[in-house]
């Protein structure tokens, strides 16, 4: 007895980023505001991190509020209806519920219900992980349009007396719509992880430790030197590989958009990549701080908003952080 052959998804050849959206915490927090508890100064923080202000959300603004604002802008700029979104990939480490996911609520709040929706935990690499997944979902035919959101309210998990990372951190959200394209818009992704440094960027304790009174509210910490070495020299290799698999050279780039962890990581990476002056380098960290997963889309959005780069150019984007996890790809600027 014969049976019908299974149907499978029809493939799309190419994908691209249609649009971006951005939202930053409404509070402008200066170095003087954070220097006291770490016995530091405006000058010390500027010199060591490049940060002048970081943006944080007030008590009444949630991570989801930021995510919704960024997502709505991306949807509007893409020229699509939210009902056309078939998947929502939400990258965050600060969703305050283990379940249900942030993604399903976001889908509901932006009018994308009943899109497939799920969260990704890849910390500062999250957005680039999300773009890799969106690219795969679109080109494999699984989803026509994918909403990628990266949102963090890191001020919920900081310790004002911590000198390792807390004073760097800000709150914000970035979003992108990825969909089918007639021309190549997202290169292969170079991504991976290194769990041998699982605790190089981590929380001070688990939720179970907190429940059992073994730790105070868990906050973020990092081993700065270990992370710096990895973020510059290992990630420079990843960035070079991303250019290679994209089939382009550094001189072909319009922009470099790295995770905004520390201006000295960015500057050192520029040196390692021997970028020509023609390449715009995102330094959104100066005014926004380190917003983890949100930092890459926020920084790219800012380059486009200020006119420093134009739609259509190539941008190398690279995210790296806790896990350790990393991802890099070249995209055509929306």
């Amino acid at each position: 007895m014969s049976r019908p052959e299974l149907k499978q998804y029809e493939l799309n050849k190419y994908s691209r980023i249609y649009s971006l959206g951005a939202a930053r915490g409404e509070l402008v927090v200066t170095n003087d505001d954070v220097a006291g508890p770490i016995d530091s100064s405006d000058e010390w923080i500027r010199q060591r991190t490049g940060i002048i202000t970081r943006r944080r959300a007030g008590k009444d603004t949630s991570m989801m509020d930021l995510a919704v604002a960024a997502a709505k802008e991306a949807i509007a700029n893409a020229g699509i209806q939210p009902s056309e979104i078939e998947a929502v990939v939400f990258n965050t480490i600060t969703h305050p519920y283990l379940t249900p996911s942030a993604a399903t609520l976001l889908a509901e709040l932006v009018g994308a219900n009943p899109a497939a929706a799920y969260d990704v935990s890849a910390a500062c690499a999250g957005y680039c992980y999300g773009i890799a997944q969106a690219d795969a979902l679109v080109r494999s035919g699984v989803a026509k349009f994918v909403l990628v959101v990266a949102a963090e309210k890191l001020s919920d998990i900081i310790d004002p007396t911590d000198r390792s990372i807390s004073f760097l951190l800000g709150d914000g959200a970035g979003a992108a719509i990825v969909g089918p394209s007639d021309t190549p818009g997202i290169s292969p992704t170079v991504w991976g992880s290194d769990g041998s440094h699982w605790d190089a960027v981590s929380m001070t304790g688990s939720l179970l430790d907190f429940r059992d009174g073994k730790t105070s509210w868990p906050t973020l910490r990092q081993e700065g030197q270990t992370v710096f070495r990895w973020a510059v020299w290992e990630m420079a290799k990843v960035a070079k590989k991303a250019l290679e698999v994209a089939g382009i050279e550094a001189k072909d780039l319009a922009a470099l958009v790295t995770h905004q962890a520390n201006i000295r990581i960015i500057d050192e990476m520029v040196k390692q990549l021997a970028l020509p002056d023609s390449v715009a380098v995102a330094r959104d960290i100066i005014n926004t701080g380190n917003t983890s997963a949100a930092s890459v889309p926020l920084a790219m959005h800012e380059l486009l908003r200020t006119g420093e780069v134009k739609s259509g150019g190539y941008a190398l984007q690279i995210g790296f952080g806790a896990g350790l996890a990393f991802a890099a790809q070249v995209v055509v600027l929306p």
């Binding site: 060591r48 081993e223 030197q225 270990t226 070495r229």
Partner: protein, 81 residues
């Protein structure tokens, strides 16, 4: 064969100068990287990586905190070479 202490000191002084602008003659064995030379942890890591390249040695992350003085670094590199 182990590198000579004087050669390592001279090479390290050049690396420190490149990273921080500190004069090479100020980089002496008894100088403390933080207290005397005012080198912060990020610059220290850049110096460490550049030393690895220049001298062909491996300086693990956990070892870096033990390199408090220029002499500590020179001795580590000489013994690891």
């Amino acid at each position: 064969m182990a590198l000579a202490q004087a050669d390592v000191l001279a090479g390290l002084a050049e690396i420190v100068n490149d990273e921080t602008g500190i004069a090479t003659e100020a980089v002496q064995l008894d100088k403390h990287f933080t207290n005397d030379l005012d080198i912060d942890s990020i610059s220290m890591m850049t110096i460490v990586v550049n030393c690895e390249d220049k001298f062909g040695v491996k300086i693990p992350d956990e070892e870096v905190k033990n390199l408090e003085t220029v002499g500590d670094a020179v001795n580590f590199i000489v013994s690891a070479s």
